[in-house]
Subunit: 204 residues, 2 copies
Amino acid sequence: MAIKERKEREKQEMRNLIIESATQLFLKQGYDKTSIRSIADDIEYSPATIYLYFKDKDEIFYVIHENAFDILDKHLRQHDGIADPFERLGAIGRTYIKFGLENPDYYDLMFIMRAPMEQIKNEEKWKAGECAFGYLLTTLSECLEQKKIRPAELHVTAIMVWSFVHGLVSLYVRERMCILMMEDDATREVLYSSLDLFMANLKT
Amino acid sequence: MAIKERKEREKQEMRNLIIESATQLFLKQGYDKTSIRSIADDIEYSPATIYLYFKDKDEIFYVIHENAFDILDKHLRQHDGIADPFERLGAIGRTYIKFGLENPDYYDLMFIMRAPMEQIKNEEKWKAGECAFGYLLTTLSECLEQKKIRPAELHVTAIMVWSFVHGLVSLYVRERMCILMMEDDATREVLYSSLDLFMANLKT
DNA sequence: GAATATAATAAACACTGTTTAGTAAATGCA
DNA sequence: TGCATTTACTAAACAGTGTTTATTATATTC
C-alpha cells in the first residue's frame, strides 16, 4: 500500500506549496493584503482548494508564525558560547532588536498581531515562544545567581527585560518612533543606545 | 444669515453623533467589528451619509484617537503636584500602565494599531502624542538635572522609559503575557512589580 | 469494468469600505 | 408667492474579503 504514503506525501507537498507562497506574499505585502485568493492565484489553484489543506487563514499564518519563532530562536542561540551571562544577555538583546528591525513582518506576526492568536492559546501553549522565553529565563537566572544584576523575582526580571526590548521594536515597527522626528538611521541609533543604557542600569 | 450658522452647527452635531456612536461601538466590540454599516445602523442613517461627514473610516477613528490622547493626558497630568521628579516619574508610569490595562481598546488605537496612522503622520505631527511625550521629556530632564537618575542623553532615556511601559502594556493587551501561565490578577501584579524593579534600577 | 473514494473547482453567501446616480426637501432670490 | 438652485440623503452598485456548498472530473478499489 505505497499509494497511501504517496498521497500523504503529496498532501504535505501541497501544504508546503501553500505555506511557501503565503510566506513569500506575506513578507512582500503584509498580512492584510495577502488574501486567500492571492495565494490561490499564485499557486494556480482555486481558493476553495486551500480550504482542503487548511482550516482557515489563521491556520496558514500559524505555521508561518511557528517558522518565524524557529528563525528567531536560531538567531538568539548563536550566543550560547558567551560564558558570562550578563554579556550573553546583552548580545541576546541586541540580536532580538536586530531581528525585529530587519524582519518587521515576522516580528509583527509573532508579537503584535491579533490574528492567529486563537491557535496559539491552544496547542502546546506557546511551544516555540516558550523556547525563546525559556532561554531568557535561563540566562537571567544565571545572572541572578552570579549577582550580576539586582536581586529580584526571576519572572518579574524577565518580564521587565522582554517588555523593554519588545517596546523598542514594536514602537518602531508600528511607526510611533516618528515622535522623535529623526531620520530613520538616527532613530535606530537611539534604539541601540537605549539598550546600552538599559543594560548599564541593570548591572549591579 | 443665521441659517448658515445653524447649518454649521447641525453639521457639527451630526459629526458628533457619528463619533459618539463609533466610539461606543468601538469600545464595545473593537475596531474591526465596527463597520461603517453598523455605525449607520446605530444612528439610523444610510452608510453613504457617513461619507458626507468623514472622508473615510480612518478619519472617524482619528478623531477617537485624538480624544483618547486627551483622556490619557488628563490622567498623567494629575501628578503635576508631585514635586520630586523621580517620584512623579514613578506615578506617571503606574498611571500609564493602569490606563492601558483599563482601556485596552483606546490603548490599542493609540499605540498599537496600524489603521489610522496615515492621518497621524500628517496633521500637526502627533499633536496630542507630543503632548504626553513632552511631559515625559520634562519630567526626565528634571530627574537628570537633579541627578536622580543615571546621566544619559535625554531622548535615549525617554525612549528607554516609554519602550518599557509600552512593552508591558502592549504584550498584555495583545495577549502575549499568557507565556507566564498565570491567572490574570497574578500577571497584573508581575507587571506592576516589574515597574517597581525598573524604577529601582533607574535610581542613582 | 463498475462502484467508490478523492481532488479540485465554479458559484454563491455574507460580509467589508467606498462611489455613483438619483430623489426629495430646504433655501435663495425674483 | 413661485421658481431655480443648493443641500441632505439614500438605494444600488462596485470591488474586495473569508468561507461554504454543490458539482464535476479523476484516481483507486474491488
